[in-house]
Symmetry: D2
Amino acid sequence: MPESITALLHGPDQPGIVAGVSGWILKHGGNIIHADQHHDAREGVFFQRVEWTHEDGSDPVGRASSFARLAEAMGMQVRTALSSARIKVVVMVSTAGHAFHQLLLDWHEGDLPCEIVAVISNHRHLERASGNYGVPYYHVPVPREPKGKGKGKGKGKGTGKDDAEREQVAIIREHGAELIVMARYMQILSETFLEECRAPVINIHHSFLPAFAGARPYHQAHDRGVKLIGATAHYATGVLDDGPIIHQDVRRVSHRHTVQDMLRIGRDLEKVVLSEAVRLHLENRILVYGKKTVVFD
Amino acid sequence: MPESITALLHGPDQPGIVAGVSGWILKHGGNIIHADQHHDAREGVFFQRVEWTHEDGSDPVGRASSFARLAEAMGMQVRTALSSARIKVVVMVSTAGHAFHQLLLDWHEGDLPCEIVAVISNHRHLERASGNYGVPYYHVPVPREPKGKGKGKGKGKGTGKDDAEREQVAIIREHGAELIVMARYMQILSETFLEECRAPVINIHHSFLPAFAGARPYHQAHDRGVKLIGATAHYATGVLDDGPIIHQDVRRVSHRHTVQDMLRIGRDLEKVVLSEAVRLHLENRILVYGKKTVVFD
Amino acid sequence: MPESITALLHGPDQPGIVAGVSGWILKHGGNIIHADQHHDAREGVFFQRVEWTHEDGSDPVGRASSFARLAEAMGMQVRTALSSARIKVVVMVSTAGHAFHQLLLDWHEGDLPCEIVAVISNHRHLERASGNYGVPYYHVPVPREPKGKGKGKGKGKGTGKDDAEREQVAIIREHGAELIVMARYMQILSETFLEECRAPVINIHHSFLPAFAGARPYHQAHDRGVKLIGATAHYATGVLDDGPIIHQDVRRVSHRHTVQDMLRIGRDLEKVVLSEAVRLHLENRILVYGKKTVVFD
Amino acid sequence: MPESITALLHGPDQPGIVAGVSGWILKHGGNIIHADQHHDAREGVFFQRVEWTHEDGSDPVGRASSFARLAEAMGMQVRTALSSARIKVVVMVSTAGHAFHQLLLDWHEGDLPCEIVAVISNHRHLERASGNYGVPYYHVPVPREPKGKGKGKGKGKGTGKDDAEREQVAIIREHGAELIVMARYMQILSETFLEECRAPVINIHHSFLPAFAGARPYHQAHDRGVKLIGATAHYATGVLDDGPIIHQDVRRVSHRHTVQDMLRIGRDLEKVVLSEAVRLHLENRILVYGKKTVVFD
């Protein structure tokens, strides 16, 4: 298969964008293999994902940046990627292994076109497993904060959590990570971290957001007596469990299910939802605008 | 098929309840055709649904009340019902017809073992349709309240909404209704109404509760960018959209779906979820305890 | 909202189709509001659905046919439709009302952009209901064939079923029907009928095809002990239950469900699946090729 | 938690079974913690799963066999198990690892109450992974048969496949396996094997059976243009893909999904469906009768 170029565009809706884009590709000898667009009529915003090949295959980088200039000239924000690219991913975990193993196994299977360059954890539980997958493992303990939920802000310099985040950021930058995946990493990340790591962060929340944000969602769900439990993959923002939603799924439960059962069922739900969200990101299928996503699946 | 007796029991868990119940039925010549029990280990509560027949079929009313005395003697709360019973149901609607038609059609089809004795509405939209189904229709206009959301409390006597609720209660009592179904009735019922109508009230909320309680849930869902929308049938309590959940279901949506699309998809979801919840109630499959339900399906 | 034009194209894949289509629309002052394309790489076929408006709104018919000529010049097969168009639909039913009512109610609600011009049935069960919806009802009894399954072929002229089909075709043509919907019409239509009615026929089969084709699928499903039951909407062809699939859905069942329960659950499944399939057809979202569909949802 | 005893009974329906069972447990100082029964009215068969504890906890083995004698005296077939029991399981795999890893990880997580004693494969792909889980791996190559599908019968003694099956059976017996799980083992097992291994065999078929039995089901599904793909866990019998179904699930697909996409989506489906089926078996929740299962979940 020849190298393909994918572009994600969005900007103010106006006539002629599709024609401009497809005309440019045709003129430069390209062949569109997938194109999908969306108009948000309420907001007046145009979104497009277009993927194309050039038969001669020469200079895809030059062509991608040349296309980007065209899109910008049409007033669009644009991101391009080559099908051969494998962006660098850092996975953050705590003790639970289900989402971690799903990501690593899917990656081995070739389903996640990326390079998993490091695992960071506040525990040692998955160190040996990480080694088996051939991925370096960084153990960065996060001390319990003395009191309150603090989130590491206004604690005076040098709280333990601040230090830990600085160490995490250093590892992330050292590996040149372009995506961070929180595979049930059970610490709240500070806004400082989210800014400093300079890469999007995908998180899996173990509930059907916006229901049951925050801690122990299956306990909350059990107490409320819901008949379905869910999982939500989203981009992390400074506001807990409030970032743009990428993917969600649910499973049926009943009064027979204890919290333990929900945790078990939830594991299968979470890991598949997270892996799917990561795949959508890696295939350049997601555009974020405001608090929402456009997912070109 | 001979008449069957169904009993719903719950109370403090203790050894010997199942043996006591099944022993009594055997001794009285009955044959259990369905029995299901549940133990809430955390709360120490026992729940049972048991359905049985007597081959001779004589005096089911006497036998049911005799059984109830046994259950009470074991410290259980109990409710019994005969399979031939058809409880009286009042349906409340506003302008939207989808949930209304589903209920009336399912009832005609024989899927809802009840007697729909009246429809009450604050609008005239479904009057002719109600007539086609042969059910009396009561138009009880509810005046807009002057300001605030008031819920009819502390408004001084004689606000229009109080008067309307009194009229509704009178109709409900006159028909001897044993169940009220709010089939997208778009007014908030006061606590006074809920007490006075002396019958359980099943409501359909057009979201996956507890997400998006309150007004215009599909608009809320659209703004939040969720990837699944839902519907929730629950018993109404004094707290809006907070009563025990009976049944829920969801459908997948994407950025392509406008609020209008969600409303359309939601209609099919809501009507089926509501009708299923009503059927479960009519078949005596639901036990409420605290804010939750045990549904013996 | 101004009139929009929708075009469905398909043909041999080749560079420049998207550019040609969007360029033409731009040149003629149109604005694309939705465009979606698909390439079947294995078969080398290109599929596109494009919908656009002209701000001046003048002569949409002329513009649509002018566009069609362009598409044909590019070697594409093309079908165009105006957003204001309401194609004429004939609904065929037997005794079961669930799918019939769903269609008629969705139509009343404005969810099905068509004109339901007639109902044809081999029974009288839904005659009064049809009258309530204001749609003429034609009772065309279909005599049982003397023996075998015959399908009306090779039976010599003038069997009762042949006569009935001739009468049905006459009604369909008289009303100028452009779509036939079999809403649980329980007779097998002959190939002659399918040719003579000169309109696509959408059928709902009450199983998850290709499992359980043919008669009494819920009985088959019950006997096989499946854990999910389904419904399939498809275009009817000369081979029973073998036409291109438009839409499918399933529900979970268990050993507790009798065949009667499956029939009841199936009713809610079938009616929603059928109505959705009809809506997709009416919105010009379906392209058929070979035994398959491309559904631009 | 004290040891609990689970009994699975079935036999001709008759009055007094529930009373007999619960009376016996009460008399012997037991406390029922879960009981569920089912009556197949068409077949006249009664099924029950009952789980109970004795507070003193003494001699559970003796009590279980004493209960079994009671059940047999009532004409029931019965199987009992202790909650502390961990039956021995052999997993059979070929090259694909998804179902294998799910089982091994769920087992490590404590979700599968068993002892995985060996992995048998006709390939070496998962040997190292098996070692990482601490489970012995047996590589038993299965030579391609010279022609036809033969299934190892009537081939004269000593075909390669017969030899391989004999070796597999020897390993299975040596480890005392009480359950065989085919986690995408891609060889058809002979009837001789199924008899000789003296343990139930659970298989995962990568389609929604009975649709697409046999080879390459996703290719079949893609060719047929279905809108949902599925996976089915079932007990293996002498007839390919025809054994009693334990669990099924589906995912939505569209024309956009290639066979490769379906294979990928299917992996997540298959592994979760298989693991759930194995868990149901290990928790003694499944009764097989005829071609069907009663699953007490």
